[in-house]
């Protein structure tokens, strides 16, 4: 007999996975002072964009801004890797504007790795986790495939689509979470052993095309904004040159080809049973479900400045390669296209997120957190925002401090996590602005006001960011206050002056009041009227800050009304449900007991949002809690 010395290392927090969730979780926890290990199967896969080479977009852009305001890295990495910036929904008001950036995928991943490597408290471990270390009640760390034990008080699992992942391309099935990368086969068992219920989801990718094999002159150009607007408050200017994207369309030829080969598509042959996202259907889905539509838009995205590939956004597919060849070559400009990698669908395990607390902690297993696609979401931004919150909560746990839960009227991230842990999901969950009932309060323009103070309090906002956030706040507040407190009176001189701008006032009006007029031109106004203080206040602002001031004043009535409504609704959020409550209460039907016991809401407000839980059940619960409170006092 001989004794093998087991390798053992001690950390505060172990993060499993180096994707967008893992990177945020590891960095924010390390910045907060925790000793963090990030375990990834492949160092260069950290920060990899597995799907399209873009960050942000509608609602997702808000998440990236929230991450930035909370001291995360996604915004900063995007600014450094971005090759086309565009603010979407520009004409639809500030509440729903979403910034988006096409990125150079290699530079993006390299930037994320660089940012992580800069953190002194963060160790990157290149290995695979075979199982979680735990005693059934609390997590103790993770066991690596070389038998090394990483001991930790908290473990954050961010394994994305890699749990028992299966890729489908036509009739061919391959185990793996991403092209050329292995699947995490055994971690699912660890999670199941902890009593977690797992489900199965599906997502897909489109084919990638060799850039040199297409003719861009046959496509529509899709330019970005003339002046790129950075995501991060830390960014002064966008470093990379900006490029064009292109648009092309599918047509009858492609649709007929797809129809003729439907029996070979895994989603239709029955090979895949898992649910895919309704908002991101495969091209075969689109052709079947919208049979009368003559063409479907394809957004052609460069994978990078030098990268030889193009990404065909809009035709995700798992049809066999010969059909993909035909479909791609039917697109204008793609007549001689060469497919560099065929599209495929991925099926993977996810954990039904109703089993998590609003901190993203697994209930009943102290110190175990899940974030990202493992919770049934889709998208880099959704993953990153969860990673950040899981990282913050793990950090708070190891510091023995209060958890961080963002409210629904405070952040899109709060809406998302509440949706996940309350409603669960049956398809990959994506953020939409319509999911946020207090949307007017969640515009990108107010994100630093809303969230940076939280990050500062938690000690994860570095000095430079804090300085910039405070400076921005000061400038914006000054311009806002001066607009509210500068008045024009309808004396002759002013009337004549305003008349030149086709403006008229009949009574004493504040500049804020004038700003509410849809046709008001601020620049012209400041040029015409002699109000040096106000002018200086606005000249100190950049374009984004000016928009923030104007929109806040313009929509103030609506914003204040929504704030009142949110405050009213939040009364029930403050009624905590005791953690150990038994739902076997007189008057509660078995169905209600089951639902409540599965989700185990933390507040009456959360309980009331569980689908199928009736107002009557809430009333009974409310009484029970009140009685308990009274008995205790």
């Amino acid at each position: 007999m001989f004794h093998v010395e087991r390798m053992e290392q001690r950390f505060d927090i172990v993060v499993i996975g180096g994707g967008h969730a893992g990177a945020e979780a590891a960095r924010v926890a390390a910045r907060g002072g925790a000793k963090v290990a990030l375990v990834t199967m492949l160092r260069e896969a950290i920060g990899r964009m597995s799907c399209n080479p873009a960050i942000g977009g509608l609602a997702k852009g808000n998440l990236v801004k929230e991450i930035d305001a909370l001291g995360g890295l996604m915004g900063e990495a995007t600014d450094r890797a971005g090759i086309q910036f565009k603010v979407l929904n520009r004409s639809k008001g500030p509440a729903v504007q979403g910034p988006r950036a096409q990125c150079d995928r290699d530079i993006y991943a390299a930037t994320v790795l660089e940012l992580l490597e800069q953190e002194p408290n963060l160790t990157i471990v290149e290995s695979a986790v075979t199982s979680l270390l735990h005693d059934g009640k609390a997590v103790r760390g993770a066991l690596l495939q070389d038998e090394t034990r990483l001991n930790a008080r908290a473990v954050i699992v961010t394994t994305g689509t890699f749990l028992r992942a299966l890729m489908h391309s036509g009739e061919v099935k391959t185990a793996g979470g991403r092209f050329g990368e292995p699947s995490a086969e055994t971690l699912s068992d660890s999670l199941r052993a902890l009593g977690l219920q797992l489900g199965r989801l599906k997502t897909g990718t489109p084919p990638r095309i060799l850039r040199d094999s297409v003719d861009f002159s046959k496509m529509e150009e899709a330019p970005g904004d003339a002046v790129p607007r950075p995501f991060s408050i830390i960014t002064d200017r966008i470093p990379l040159p900006q490029v064009l994207c292109h648009l092309t369309y599918t047509g009858t030829e492609a649709h007929e080809l797809i129809r003729a080969n439907l029996h070979r598509a895994p989603m239709y042959s029955g090979q895949i049973a898992a649910a895919g996202p309704r908002y991101c259907p495969s091209i075969e889905d689109k052709v079947v479900r919208f049979a009368d539509k003559e063409r479907h838009q394809v957004f052609v995205e460069p994978e990078g400045l030098q990268h030889p590939w193009l990404y065909l956004n809009g035709i995700s597919t798992s049809l066999p390669p010969d059909v993909q060849d035909g479909v791609v070559r039917s697109l204008a400009g793609f007549e001689h296209a060469v497919i560099a990698r065929y599209g495929y669908a991925v099926e993977y395990d996810f954990v039904n997120p109703e089993q998590l607390e609003p901190t993203l902690a697994v209930r009943d297993v102290d110190g175990l957190y899940l974030a990202g696609q493992i919770n049934g979401t889709s998208g880099y931004e959704e993953a990153a925002a969860q990673g950040l919150l899981a990282g913050l909560n793990a950090l708070q746990l190891v510091r023995d401090r209060e958890p961080v839960i963002l409210r629904r009227d405070e952040a899109y991230a709060g809406v998302m996590i509440d949706d996940l842990v309350t409603l669960g999901t049956t398809e990959p969950y994506r953020m939409f602005t319509s999911r946020a009932e207090h949307r007017l309060l969640l515009g990108c323009d107010s994100v630093y006001e809303r969230l940076s103070p939280i990050a500062a309090r938690l000690g994860v906002l570095d000095g430079e960011r804090k300085r910039r956030v405070d400076g921005r706040q000061e400038r914006v507040t000054r311009a806002r206050d001066l607009s509210l407190n500068t008045f024009l009176t309808p004396d002759r001189e002013t009337v004549v002056l305003l008349d030149g701008m086709e403006l008229s006032i009949s009574e004493k009006s504040s500049v804020a009041k004038l700003l509410q007029r849809p046709d008001f031109n601020l620049t012209r106004f400041l040029d015409t009227v002699s109000l040096p203080g106000l002018r200086a206040a606005f000249e100190a602002l950049n374009e984004e800050e000016t928009e923030a001031v104007v929109s806040r004043l313009r929509y103030s009535g609506y914003i204040e009304r929504q704030e009142r409504e949110a405050a009213k609704l939040s009364q029930d959020e403050a009624v905590a449900i005791p953690a150990g409550i038994s739902y076997a209460l007189p008057g509660l039907s078995r169905e209600m007991v089951e639902k409540l016991s599965f989700v185990r809401p933390v507040s009456l407000g959360q309980a009331s949002r569980i689908p199928g839980v009736t107002p009557a059940a809430i009333a009974i619960l409310r009484m029970h809690i009140r009685r308990g409170v009274r008995a205790a006092s």
Partner: protein, 439 residues
Amino acid sequence: MSSAAFDTIVAPATPVGRSALAVVRIDGPRTSAIIDTLTGGPSDQRIAVHRYLNHNGELLDDCVVVRYVAPHSFTGNDLAELTLHGNPLLVERVIAAAVELGARIAEPGEFTERAVLNGKLDLVQAESIADLIAARTTLQAKLSLTNLRGALSTKAQGIRESLLFVISRLEAALDFSEEGYDFISRAEARAKIEEAIAACRSISDTWRRGRATTAGLSLVILGRPNAGKSTLLNRLVGSERAIVTPIPGTTRDIVRETIEIGGLPVTIADTAGLRESSDVVEGIGIERAREAAAGADIVLYLIDATSGRTAEDERELATLDEPLLVWTKNDLAPAPGLAISAKTDAGVSELLARLDALVRDQFAVPESSATIVNERQRQAITACEQSLEVALQSLDAGYEEPIVVVDLYRASNALGVLTGAITNDDILTEIFSKFCIGK
């Protein structure tokens, strides 16, 4: 939740309709302030007091005010019960005054819910109260209100669905604006919203009939002294309810009796004869007669056929809105129109037939039509309509979709309250929705 989290609510605690007395209940922190304003005096320490209720300088009624101070009340909050005269119009006016002073109309079962929330009742007790009330109203119901309500819900649901159609398209235009679709044009959205407003109006227009069905109608008999008003009342009621003498001015206060006309309960009010009077008591009676006529659903104006239309008649008639002219004492003199002789019964059945037709035509609810039958429903439909108007204004002022939909959501939520399909959990709980208003 502390009791401070409650707002102040008001509702009738007795069934809607004619009765000797009616009780209105007010509950919540503003109770004392509302009562003080209405009674014109500061808080009275005594539990039950007789008081005159005035609002905006207008006398509403005299009543008995019973106050309960928290936590010693049915609900556990500050609570007051006003015992009024049993006239639905009075009850409505007192409730409207309370609402103007900061209360809101209670949801069904809300008083009981508060009692439960304050630990004054447990759920089983609350449920048995609900069952009791349900049984009583079942017995009382002469019309199948369930059918009516079903029709109303269906119609409200229809508006709601068309609203959700607009909302979903506007939302799609926000969340999928890059997909190259035109989800809905502003003109299309505008047309849909206007359609919904029109549908709301067609529902609010049913209020008069709906209220008549549940609360009954009021018919006031007016006329100069000795025109035969009391005789007619007695004739219609079938008993010597009002004192009849040949002396003008015998009837001084209003005498009321309820009979059924056209399938609805109609409360007939016999009033003091209209004339210039120096008698203080008679003068008050005449004033009350005029007030009653102003709030009446139907006014019968009696003209003595033996004296014909006098200048006084002309003056009174000019102030009335479409009164039904009835010539009396037809046995003594000929008359140019609808005429009766209460003495010989001539014309009385014709008059009744006329009233029957009038009630059926103007007040009865057509079979299975969408009709609102109470104040809560009326408020809900009004709130929906108002939100839709605001949404339309936002649309016309060029506001973007996220702003426009805010009020569309509000409108659809208001409709949800109307149909009972509540999503806003702090308003109603299912278990309490079985309760009638005010209990």
